[in-house]
Symmetry: C2
Subunit: 326 residues, 2 copies
C-alpha cells in the first residue's frame, strides 16, 4: 500500500478543490493512503464539511504556499513550512511514497530538487506526461522542464521515460525520437545528433529504439511508447494536442447535433493519467498537475503517483540512469 502526500494549498481553487479530490479518492474501490499537507485545522474542517471518512488519512501541517506570481525560490527559502517543501520532505523521510501538487509548477520542481535531490545520471529533471494514444498509453517527455536540450540530455530523458513507462505497466516499451520525416538526415541539428547518440546507446542498454517518430504517431502509439523531445517542443505539442481535441469536440459535436458526448471524451481524457506530469530525475515520485485542475483531475494525479510508486518507478529509473553514465 502506498501513501501519497497531497498539497492542500496548491491549485487555483485550493484548498476547497483539493478537499473535493480527497472526497473522490476515498470512494475509490481501493483507496490510496493520503498524507494531507496544509493547515491542519482547515484540512480537518474541509473533510468534515464533505463527510469524508478519515480512515487512511494523515495530516502534516504547513502554513504557507507559493502564489502563481511569486518567485518560487525566494518564497521557499523564506518559508521552510511551505506546503510543497513539507510534502516533498515527507517523501524524503519515508513518511510518504510519492507526492502531488497542482500549485505553481516551478515551486514544485524547486521543492522536489531541494528536498529529494536528483537521481545520479541525469543533468536536469524532465516532466513526463501520459498521452492516451489509441493503441495504449504513450509517455511524452520533456513537456516543459528543460526548453533547451542537448543530445546527451535527450539520452537521459529516454532512459527515464523508458523507466516511467515500465512502472506504469508497459512491457518492453519502444523509445522514439520525436522529429520530422523518417528519412535519415532529416530534422534539426539537435535531432540529427541525438539520433546518433540514441541509436548507439539505447540498444546497448537493452532498450528498443524505433528511431525517428513523427507528430501524428503520438495519437496512435504504434511506432513507439516513449516519445523523447526537448521541453520546448514537448510543451508546444502537448498544448497543441489539447487544443486540437477541444477543436474536435466543437466541430464534431456540432456535426452530430449534440455536443455532450464529444465533451465527455474531452473530460474523460483530462481526468485520466493525462492529468499529471511526472517529474523524472528527482529522487522521489513527484507529480505536478494543472493549477486550474478540477477535483477529478487532482484525484487522477494522486492515483497516477500511487501507481508509478507501486510500479517501482524509483528503482527502475535509478537503475536505468546509473547504468547509463556515458
Amino acid at each position: 500500500m502506498t501513501t501519497v502526500a497531497l498539497d492542500l494549498l496548491g491549485g487555483d481553487e485550493a484548498p476547497a478543490v483539493v478537499a473535493d479530490a480527497v472526497a473522490l479518492l476515498t470512494s475509490d474501490a481501493d483507496p490510496v493512503d493520503l498524507l494531507l499537507v496544509g493547515p491542519r485545522d482547515t484540512a480537518v474542517a474541509l473533510l468534515e464539511e464533505r463527510r469524508v471518512r478519515t480512515h487512511g488519512i494523515r495530516f502534516a501541517n504547513a502554513e504557507s504556499f507559493v502564489r502563481m506570481d511569486e518567485d518560487p525560490l525566494a518564497v521557499l527559502r523564506a518559508h521552510p513550512d511551505a506546503s510543497v517543501l513539507v510534502a516533498a520532505r515527507a517523501v524524503a523521510t519515508g513518511d510518504a511514497d510519492a507526492w502531488v501538487s497542482v500549485g505553481h509548477t516551478g515551486a514544485s520542481v524547486a521543492a522536489a530538487v531541494l528536498e529529494l535531490g536528483r537521481v545520479p545520471g541525469i543533468a536536469r529533471p524532465a516532466l513526463a506526461v501520459v498521452v492516451p494514444a489509441l493503441d495504449g498509453p504513450v509517455v511524452l517527455l520533456d513537456a516543459g522542464a528543460a526548453p533547451d536540450a542537448t543530445p546527451d540530455l535527450l539520452r537521459q530523458f529516454a532512459l527515464a521515460g523508458h523507466a516511467y513507462a515500465r512502472s506504469l505497466g508497459v512491457a518492453d516499451p519502444v523509445v522514439g525520437l520525436l522529429t520530422i520525416g523518417s528519412e535519415e538526415g532529416k530534422g534539426d541539428r539537435l535531432r540529427r545528433s541525438a539520433h546518433e547518440v540514441l541509436r548507439e546507446t539505447l540498444p546497448a542498454a537493452g532498450i528498443r529504439y524505433a528511431g525517428p517518430v513523427e507528430g501524428h504517431d503520438l495519437a496512435w502509439g504504434r511506432a513507439a511508447q516513449v516519445f523523447v523531445t526537448d521541453g520546448f517542443t514537448g510543451n508546444v505539442v502537448l498544448k497543441a494536442l489539447e487544443g486540437a481535441v477541444q477543436w474536435s469536440a466543437v466541430r464534431m459535436g456540432s456535426a452530430y447535433g449534440d455536443p455532450a458526448p464529444a465533451w465527455d471524451v474531452v473530460l474523460r481524457t483530462a481526468t485520466s493519467d493525462f492529468a499529471g506530469g511526472m517529474l523524472l530525475g528527482v529522487a522521489g515520485v513527484t507529480v505536478v498537475g494543472h493549477g486550474a485542475g478540477s477535483a477529478a483531475e487532482i484525484a487522477a494525479c494522486v492515483r497516477l503517483a500511487s501507481r508509478a510508486s507501486a510500479g517501482g518507478l524509483m528503482g527502475l529509473s535509478s537503475a536505468a540512469l546509473a547504468g547509463s553514465a556515458p
Copy 2:
C-alpha cells in the same frame, strides 16, 4: 482571372489522381483556368476518359518527374523537362499566376528556387499552412522548410506569414510567437531572442504583435492569426494536430456510436485550405501538397493557389520583406 499550373506527374497516384482533381475543379461554380503540366497525350487521354470539358485548360509538355526516393537536385539538373521545373517556369514567364505540385516536396522547393528565385529580404523560404481554427483561419509557419531557424529568420517569416494571411482576406492579422508560457523570460533561447526582435520590428512595420502564444491557441485562433515558429516545431505540431483530430474521430465517433459524421469533419478539414502548404519567400505563388493527397485535396491546393494569387500575395510579401531589410 488567374491561371494555375498544375503538375500532372506529382503525387503517389499521379497522373490519374491529378486528372480526377481537374475533373472536380471544372465543375466549380467559377472554375480556375488551368495549365496542365505533363505528357500532353496522356493528359488529353485522361481528361477525355473523365469527360472533362477542356475549355479554360491549356497544356505544357513535361516528360520526367522526381521519384520520392530520388535526390531532387540531381534529377532536376539532369532533366530540365521535369514537370516541377516546367510548372514553376510557367509562373516565371507569366504563362501562369501560380503553380501546384503534390509530388516530392524537396523537388518542388528546389524547382521554385531555381526557376522563380527568392524574394529579396528573406534568407530561406518557409512553408505556411492554413489551420482552420474555430475563430477563423490561422497561418502557421514554418511547417518544415527550415528546421533550424534564427531570430532574424523568424522575423522574416513573420512578415511573409502576415502578407499571406492578408492575401487570404484576413484583415489586419495579429502575429504571435509560438512558445511555452506567456510570462516574460519563458521559452527556449531562440524564442527569448526572437521575442525581442519581433517586439521591436513588427509594430514599426505596422503589424500587430501579440507576443507569446501557445500550442492550444492554434485551435482557437483568437490570440493571433499568424503563428511564427521554426520548421522543426511547426512540422511536429502540424502532424500532432492531424493525429489528434484523427484520435478524436476514433474516440468521439465511438462515443456517438456512429463514426461517419466525425470522419466527415476530418475529411472536410483535409480538403480545405489546410490541404496545401504555401511556399513563401520564392518569387511566385507556389503550393505544395501531400504526396498521398486525394483528388479533393489536390483540387483544394489549386483553389488556394488561385485565391492567394488573386489576393495579391506576391505584391504583399515582396513589399513586406523589402521594407524589412534589417
